[in-house]
Symmetry: C2
Subunit: 161 residues, 2 copies
DNA sequence: CAGTTCAGTTGTACTATGCAACCGGAGCAG
DNA sequence: CTGCTCCGGTTGCATAGTACAACTGAACTG
């Protein structure tokens, strides 16, 4: 049962042998990437771990949010976020502002230093990517970017039928 | 200095705005993927963490090797590998055979159970990837696979000129 | 006002990891 | 053979990141 064993009308196309091989390759390469990413996640930058970087990035995009939002968005425990936030605050990269409307809430904001470090790390990462992708034709870059986006855009929000 | 500031003849193409945006997207999506992979690496499978899975896979491919080889290949500390190996042995997924030629060396081999679990985890991962990629056209799968392979194939071996 | 809900913190435990120190066999020089 | 060194592997720390559970204090609800 190599290919057309999908009688489920799920909208899926049947896979030929080539498609199966491609899925296999994607799995393997994603695994390799995940392992490497894991290995370098801590030492991504002397200042910022991958998680901290992500949290800071979220604060930048959102223009400030609550720790609980971060936890929910990234499927982290609130205690984990609490400690990460504490560390980032200790490093003066973020600050907490108690929400005047709800004293339980602490809205997190990037500080100037936080914005600076975030930009710096982003730039250093961007440079690394740019170098790594330096000899890719522009067409391939755009297709690869689209594929990655599509890959990550899953599971799609359960588009309530 | 947005684009054609690369007077270095490095073989790199100059990037237009679209190419820059694509690099940016690739960076962002790879970061997202890395974060998710990190989050699920431990609970990838009740039996096997991502690292254990990788080590088992290497043993399968290589048909047995030393712990030091694993450490070198995956840039892990030998102590880390030692402990992982100990756990895998405890779980009876691998066995050690002292090299008769060099009593310092323990050649690691998959056991039957190890092979079975590895195959099972591989299959379960493959099924997950298949589902995730179910509605991708075959052409896109193949291109995506090729892009990922190319991406991971870096830095290339220092092709001694 | 009392009970409940919610944001966040803290205590505890566990896993993964690295570094450094160590152990024991192997190989080599004399 | 003896002694030194090299090397594979283990073990003792220390650290980071995480989760779970219990707790604190504020806010909402009836």
């Amino acid at each position: 049962m190599s290919a057309a064993e999908r009688p489920d009308g799920s909208g899926a196309v049947s896979r030929g042998a080539a498609g199966e091989a491609a899925v296999e390759t994607i799995q393997r390469e994603m695994t390799i990437f995940a392992r490497r990413a894991r290995a370098s996640a801590g030492r991504m930058h002397p200042e910022l771990s991958l998680v901290s970087y992500t949290l800071l990035g979220h604060l930048e995009e959102s223009g400030g949010c609550r720790a609980t939002d971060l936890a929910a968005h990234y499927a982290l425990d609130k205690s984990t976020v609490s400690r990460q936030v504490a560390a980032l605050e200790r490093a003066a990269l973020i600050e907490r502002r108690v929400d005047p409307d709800d004293h339980r809430v602490q809205v997190l904001h990037l500080t100037g230093a936080g914005r600076r470090i975030l930009a710096q790390v982003t730039e250093s990462r961007r440079a690394a990517f740019r170098e790594r992708l330096a000899d890719w034709p522009e067409d391939d870059l755009e297709r690869f970017a689209a594929y990655l986006t599509r890959y990550n855009d899953w599971p799609r929000p359960p588009e309530d039928a």
